[in-house]
Symmetry: C4
Subunit: 227 residues, 4 copies
């Protein structure tokens, strides 16, 4: 645990676990407590997710706070991390995400894992995931270029809370989180058969977002002293 | 895409597109998911809009983040941008706004464009648009004069989320967004016949806001190193 | 309008006008759009008020942003402003507050002024106003002593949004706003006969708050270069 | 009141009193005003709590702003405060918490103290308290290590607002607050018999959180000039 990479991987695992625990757990609570209005459930779910993202990014950014394989892949593509680091962080994100889903299920008295039966497919939703991930990459790398890098926490929290609402897919925008959400048959779940389509569109959106970042000129070379 | 003006125009296009996609998209989601309470729909719509404004301004401000022809016109009036720049940015804002409306419609499985049938007219609403835009100009140029220019993101996000509620018009306060909202027959739509009245009152409010800014002495000369 | 005091008074007038327009206007909108749940109305009203306070304080703090006679009186008591300034700013706050109430009524198609018939009295409510104002003075003067004075905007916005909920009186906590809220017979109104009791308890709470600030040692002498 | 420790204890007392007044008071208001949807009540309760935490931490952090015996115990464990200080601050937190509960009851016209009859037990809830407190310790000590220590206010406010939703226990995560919540038979109450289980799990979670902080390497020695 002494090495820098192990610390970063541990931060990604912890952060992604709390992120998924929030997405899944607040979805379960919302569904149970506000049974008559799906919009109110999504409001509760989206505000909890946005709020926890602010907290987690402020907390873990000094170590590592991507919590998202798409973000890590873009960092690899622009040369900010090497391949070993990228693979390690993505692995930690997936393990953390699964752990978060399991803990959320257990906290609410459910089986540790139940596969979701909530199918999410169709052109509109796939377009939604691509748009959502394009925007997320834009926000992450744009805000990191601002005067105070900590503002990325508020930018990402605000963006995701909004994206739950403005995309038809409710903006998963994160392959690790998507996989973990297949493991709970509750509000935030996604049927395993729908996962590949979502992940594919997230990768497409992420690539488009990286292109937009380059066009904006916000970052064209690795830059260790920011973020 | 190498020139500074092209980068700024691209940022205005992207930002205004995501802004309108949020206004329109979250309106559609709110209407579908919370069918029994119009106030709850507006709450969902206003929180999503305020949150995305925080994200988009933090993200794009290092390049250009007005997203609003009234703001750009005031910047031209006080000499902070030249006429070529102002025309280019306003053009990019309108194109981005239309794009955002189209994408929102498509994400939710609707036709790319449907003209709104939601008429919005009357003395109260027109007064609302003038007041809303006066306040917006005050907030943008006042907050930019503060110690940390990035706070304009929180000021504008907070202001617009509130203005959805305190004005009878729900505070469009933006000619580019108003035009684009004519292209969707959903919660956020405005009938084309109602657009000129709204835009006129936005220009009146913007002029009054610029006057208030000058009286406050917050900015009496171009100042390139802020914002 | 060239003098420093005139600029400050204008800022107080504008800020208090927008604050009251938000309190009253969002109350009217909430009552009309969410007719079935008073709590949802208060949620909409409190979030709009908290959000606009963040915006207005960030915007006007470089000039003057108290918007509240109790705060100005405490500043006089600790020697941060002289008597002429205090009287001028309080006058501007009251004029601005009345203007805000009138504009809100007009935006929503009501008479410019209608006296409220909403009686608000009783031990619990009076205790609520004293506690609310004690807390507000603590927050304003405590947060101004922090590293970055702009954080007072977030502190006050957060505090007031919460105080709408944790006090039985919904936390008016401001004599100028209280007077102006007597002029609208809507959600946010207060019957003129209930105004003196509220204002008295606000003054009591303000004095207690000033005492707490002194005990905390946060500020024992005038200090021109903060705030 | 001149000594540094007395000032810190007074800040902890005031802050914890306002925190508990908000938790209890907003719970009572929510229950009365939104009687038909428990989720809406929790939304109102959680947003008020998160918002007041931002305000209170920004306000009192220059003096002392833990408001939580678990946080103070971790600070003792890592050597940032001595035993006399820790005991004094925890005493002040408990007294303040009880005071806040009493004031909330009185503001809403209830008896000063009524023991709660709301039993909260079971594996899921206990796991919830451990997870909630683990996360809180991580957030507090992680965010304090960031560039600007004031961001801990936004991190904690966001975290707790979310944790009300993602844990099955609604995240008490604070022994002083838990004790005080036994003294009100309202929305936020907890039966005295359920208090020991909650406090035990909070201590377990706090210890795990301290371990995670050490593994992350965020803070391995006392450091007087931060926080």
């Amino acid at each position: 645990m002494r090495s820098e990479l192990a610390r970063k991987a541990f931060a990604e695992l912890l952060g992604t676990a709390f992120l998924v625990a929030t997405v899944v757990g607040s979805g379960i609570a919302a569904q149970r407590l506000s049974p008559r209005d799906t919009g109110l459930q999504l409001l509760e779910n989206s505000l909890a997710t946005g709020a926890v993202l602010v907290a987690l990014i402020l907390t873990l950014r000094p170590v590592s706070a991507s919590f998202n394989p798409v973000v890590t892949l873009v960092e690899r593509a622009i040369g900010r991390v090497d391949s070993t680091t990228a693979v390690s962080l993505i692995g930690a994100q997936v393990v953390g995400a699964v752990l978060g889903s399991v803990v959320a299920n257990l906290m609410f008295g459910l089986h540790a894992v139940t596969l979701s039966t909530h199918h999410r497919t169709g052109d509109g939703l796939w377009l939604g995931e691509a748009v959502a991930t394009l925007g997320l990459v834009l926000v992450v790398f744009g805000a990191l270029a601002a005067d105070h890098a900590e503002t990325v926490a508020y930018a990402v929290g605000g963006y995701i809370a909004a994206a739950y609402w403005f995309t038809s897919s409710t903006s998963f925008a994160n392959p690790a989180v998507t996989i973990a959400r297949a493991l709970t048959d509750t509000f935030a779940g996604i049927a395993p058969a729908s996962v590949p389509g979502f992940v594919l569109m997230q990768l497409v959106g992420g690539a488009l977002g990286a292109g937009a970042v380059l066009l904006l000129g916000a970052r064209t070379a690795p830059d260790g002293d920011r973020a």
